[in-house]
């Protein structure tokens, strides 16, 4: 929090820090990410190992693994997702409250892994937004912890109180206005690149 301090003209006592509300909110959110474990396969075992006592994930704020999407911030998709499971995954993602983030853990969730078959979705990022990818088959607990630390840095750098960073449409419109490009509304609502 100290690096976000704004210099002010008045003299402040030693126990007062001035910062932005966005940074304060991001600091609170990043240090209390409660995971929603969407463990379908082998990566789920490594996820459980990361939450266990040796590689303790609770040190980083993931105090409880809530199995209800209504009580979680962070969805960790650990394991391969088959086409029968994908609508379930999307529904649980939609049931999570904002602000929410998604980690795609392991090779199967990121790209389909070694299972390039008729029933395995080749990467969940084809159908839902992913913030952090953790490669590995399975990734060791230390790699998952590093992924969560990197996600915490991302939340701190980009986070806002109102969640403006999640509004892709508004962000694209601001960028195109900045670059002085024409804004064309496509049927899906997103501004597609030409």
């Amino acid at each position: 929090m100290a690096q976000g301090s704004v210099s002010v003209a008045i003299e402040l006592p030693e126990n007062v820090v001035v910062s932005k509300l966005d940074e304060l909110a991001s600091w609170c959110r990043k240090n209390s990410l409660w995971p929603m474990p969407f463990a379908t396969a082998c990566c789920g075992i490594e996820l459980m190992a990361t939450g266990a006592s040796r590689h303790d994930l609770a040190r980083f704020g993931a105090e409880v693994f809530r199995f209800s999407p209504r009580q979680c911030d962070l969805m960790i998709v650990a394991g391969r997702v088959v086409m029968k499971m994908l609508p379930v995954l999307q529904r649980i993602w939609q049931q999570m409250h904002e602000p929410k983030w998604c980690i795609s853990m392991g090779a199967c969730a990121s790209t389909g892994g070694i299972f390039d078959t008729y029933c395995v979705v080749q990467g969940i990022d084809r159908f839902m937004p992913v913030d952090m990818y953790i490669p590995g088959c399975p990734p060791r607990p230390e790699q998952l912890i590093q992924g969560i630390i990197d996600l915490q840095d991302k939340i701190q750098l980009e986070g806002t109180v109102t969640g403006r960073e999640f509004d892709l449409r508004a962000r694209q419109q601001r960028k195109r206005a900045l670059m002085e490009l024409p804004i064309v509304n496509s049927p899906s609502g997103l501004i597609l690149p030409r």
């Binding site: 086409m83 609508p87 993602w93 078959t117 029933c119 979705v121 159908f127 999640f166 509004d167 892709l168």
Partner: protein
């Protein structure tokens, strides 16, 4: 465990079209679809093969020297004498159908549903003939040899959730 010679003799005397062979300690009986249900009833009730271990299928579409397209495989076991027998039924392409074993063994319910889902072989008399592994609206039979490994695009036919909507 090789089946005893009394069992082989009983099968060969009762059914005309059965062929029994043995390879490295495993016995196999190939039977016609018409005599299939009688043979399985005999095996279960008279000869003591009380356990149906598995039901599966082989697609011989591009196999050299193949005479029929589908070869159903039934594995039965005798829990008292530890004998195991493989029963083969060869079926052909337009509408492969065979009698269902659900009246004899309840466990055949899900095993035959899996063979229907993966190969498209219909089982007459099955109480609940629907897909078990693939989603209900799936149209193909994936383990047939003419179905590609990566599928025909069904795996990616879903709506996309984005940050601004989802």
């Amino acid at each position: 465990m090789v089946v005893r010679s009394e069992v082989i003799a009983a099968l060969e005397s009762r059914f005309g079209n059965v062929t029994i062979s043995e390879f490295r300690g495993h016995s196999r009986a190939t039977v016609e679809a018409a005599e299939f249900i009688d043979m399985m009833t005999t095996l279960k009730e008279t000869l003591g093969f009380d356990m149906l271990v598995d039901v599966t299928c082989v697609d011989y579409l591009n196999y050299r020297d193949a005479r029929n397209r589908f070869g159903l495989v039934y594995l039965v076991a005798n829990t008292t004498s530890a004998e195991r027998l493989t029963v083969r039924v060869m079926l052909d392409d337009p509408d492969p159908t065979v009698a269902s074993l659900v009246p004899l063994w309840e466990g055949a319910n899900w095993l035959e549903r899996e063979v229907w889902d993966m190969f498209g072989i219909r089982f007459d008399g099955h109480p609940d003939m629907r897909r078990i592994l693939m989603p209900d609206e799936f149209t193909a039979h994936p383990l047939r040899k003419d179905y590609p490994l990566q599928g025909r695009g069904e795996r990616h036919n879903f709506p996309v959730l984005t940050r601004s909507e989802g």
